[in-house]
């Protein structure tokens, strides 16, 4: 069965969704979701270890050999993304039980699980497929599911946030498919490896250039590349807790993966980075995101919104590596896919617990007052994840920052080093607003009783916060995987 792992990776959550709809039972839905999430993690881990030992795995769907059939292709990069996504899923799934029970009406809860499974299937499919159009289909599966997940938020703003996200997300996906169409018209193939080969032979580069622009903007919309990030803060702020945690930790990351895949393995990186101002564009946009979005985060009153803005800034860290285009920079970027996923996942999972106990849809600075006394473990977890967001040593965020700084030094981009330092400094400001509210403000009298979040939710959040520290010290998963992936991308560049 092991050779079918690439198919199982996607099919398991994809089959779980209709089963959940058929069963119409919340309990079964949760059970199926959890089992599938863990199964996906096992698949991803097995795939990653096989890729690490024996190189890329190719799987021909329907036994039609590529480039005619659809190929699932797992290499170091996609294995890393698969692990990152399914790792998050395995924490979110057990968490979902209490969280969904508290936030969604009983007769709709199974739909929430089904959508979550679809979203998971779509994201995993995006990471694993080797076919440009198949990627679009998975992109839309995950996007449609995520629009529904967001729209199920408790407050009415969730509806409008979902609508806006849907509009911009669909434009992004449409742009992507336009880009793929142009590439198909020029080369007559949709398989990534085949595309790369045939693009080398193309004489007239104008449609290829147009395709590059469409794919960049389209994916940029999906992963909230500054200044295409307008949809993100509201979408994350108003979605149900588990949806925010899951999407914040995974959705944007997989879209960045798509861009990396195109930039380094489909298009000719030598031409892309030498003949076009790609490097400058990505450095500038990333730095702008890191600074401007962080500043915006400082001024938010709604805590979920605050961290949503911080996500925009952190996407800047991830795209910085594209602009640096060297081993250290790309390692930093790719490892941040996982590091930031774990960090933001922990924060939103814990905030979900806070929202549940506060009984309100919104978590504002006032809600957090006295959290250190009322929910000491939750507050501690938030602090730990916040430190990782800042990038203090001993946390996952530091690992990223270190590689990015070294990468910037190698590139001779001193101003980028300064920007990374400045951005972390602003991160201190917004994280410390939360810490001060939690520890130095007295709780309002009626809410002063000590009451932690339900055990399942708390455990998931704390476990993820623990991972922030684990990945800060024991880097065999996040750094070695990212290192191999970066080496793979740069090998494609030669």
């Amino acid at each position: 069965m092991l050779e079918h792992l690439p198919a199982l990776q996607v099919v398991l959550p994809l089959v779980a969704a209709p089963l959940i709809v058929l069963a119409r039972s919340t309990r079964f839905a949760w059970l199926a979701t959890t089992v599938v999430s863990y199964a996906c993690l096992v698949c991803a881990a097995l795939l990653a270890s096989r890729v690490a030992d024996g190189g890329a795995i190719s799987y021909a769907l329907g036994n039609w050999p590529p480039p005619w059939g659809i190929e699932y292709r797992v290499d170091a990069l996609s294995a890393f993304v698969l692990v990152a996504v399914s790792l998050t899923a395995s924490f979110v799934a057990p968490y979902a039980q209490r969280s969904i029970a508290a936030e969604i009406e009983p007769d709709r809860q199974y739909l929430m699980y089904a959508m979550y499974c679809l979203c998971l299937a779509g994201l995993l499919g995006m990471a694993i497929t080797g076919d440009a159009f198949n990627l679009f289909v998975f992109l839309e599966i995950s996007s449609l599911a995520s629009y529904v997940l967001i729209a199920l938020g408790r407050r009415r703003q969730a509806l409008f946030a979902a609508y806006q996200y849907m509009l911009l997300g669909t434009v992004g996906a449409t742009f992507y498919v336009i880009g793929v169409g142009l590439l198909y018209l020029v080369t007559g193939t949709l398989n990534f490896a085949d595309l790369a080969e045939r693009l080398r032979m193309v004489q007239d580069l104008r449609p290829v250039l147009a395709a590059l622009a469409f794919i960049t903007v389209g994916m940029g919309l999906k992963f909230a590349l500054f200044p295409l990030h307008q949809w993100l803060p509201n979408a994350y702020a108003f979605a149900p807790s588990m949806a925010t945690a899951f999407l914040a930790a995974t959705a944007t990351k997989v879209s960045v993966y798509v861009l990396l895949r195109y930039y380094f393995t489909v298009f000719d990186p030598a031409a892309l980075f030498e003949r076009l101002p790609t490097r400058e564009i990505f450095l500038l946009l990333s730095v702008a995101a890191m600074v401007v979005a962080s500043l915006a985060a400082v001024y938010q009153r709604d805590v979920k919104r605050l961290f949503a803005w911080s996500s925009v800034a952190q996407v800047g860290y991830i795209t910085l590596g594209i602009g640096l285009e060297n081993q250290a920079g790309l390692t930093g970027s790719i490892t941040h896919l996982l590091n930031h996923g774990v960090t933001k996942g922990a924060i939103f999972l814990l905030l979900g617990g806070v929202a549940l106990r506060a009984g309100a849809g919104a978590v504002t600075m006032e809600t957090l007052a006295g959290l250190g006394r009322r929910m000491p473990l939750t507050a501690l977890g938030l602090v730990v994840a916040g430190l990782s967001l800042i990038g203090l040593p001993g946390t996952a965020g530091f690992v990223t920052k270190w590689y990015l700084i070294v990468g910037a030094l190698e590139r001779g981009a001193w101003w980028v080093v300064a920007a990374i330092a400045a951005s972390s400094l602003i991160a201190v400001a917004y994280v410390w607003r939360v810490v001060e509210a939690a520890y130095l403000r007295e709780a309002p009298a009626p809410a002063a009783a000590r009451r932690e979040a339900p055990a399942g939710m708390l455990a998931a959040g704390l476990a993820m916060a623990g991972l922030c520290v684990y990945f800060g010290f024991f880097t065999s998963i996040n750094v070695e995987g990212a290192h191999a992936a970066a080496a793979l991308l740069l090998r494609g560049a030669q």
Binding site: H4, V15, A17, P18, V21, L22, A60, G62, N63, A151
Partner: protein, 147 residues
């Protein structure tokens, strides 16, 4: 509209033919344009047409909501099941060659069931969309329906 006798008679007369046409489009797809997508839409159109004339409730008697939802999910399962069957019979996922001793016949068998799945899902989705939107104004007074 169910008070109009002409509509009622025509609807009842047309309905079987529409469903039959759907089946034709479905099964003749090996030799001409057609397939599960088109057939599904035609079949769903028949039911929608019926409920346009006789009212939503009558339509729901014809295709109860739970059946519609089951069709939606079941179709996907049939599709995925074909893929898994390929796996179990020793091929890759969605491998039709192994579904029959003769690979060509295997392809036939595989695509047949896949198209059945598509038919079910598309028809289910169309019906679901229709009832979802048409069912809206019945409970205008604040009560909400699943989206």
């Amino acid at each position: 509209m169910k008070d109009d006798i002409i509509l009622r008679v025509v609807a009842k007369l047309l309905l079987p033919f529409m469903l039959l046409f759907a089946l034709y489009v479905q099964f003749h797809a090996d030799f001409g344009p057609g397939g599960g997508f088109q057939a599904g839409v035609i079949a769903a159109a028949a039911v929608i047409f019926y409920s346009l004339i006789f009212g939503l409730r009558a339509g729901e008697r014809l295709a109860p909501p739970w059946i519609v939802e089951a069709m939606l999910a079941g179709g996907v399962l049939v599709y995925a099941g074909v893929g898994v069957a390929g796996l179990l019979l020793g091929g890759n996922y969605l491998d039709y060659f192994v579904l029959h001793a003769d690979p060509a016949a295997g392809q036939h068998r595989g695509i047949f069931w896949v198209e059945i799945g598509v038919l079910l899902t598309v028809a289910g989705a169309m019906l679901k969309l229709y009832t979802m939107f048409a069912g809206r104004d019945r409970n205008e007074d604040g009560e909400e329906e699943g989206a």
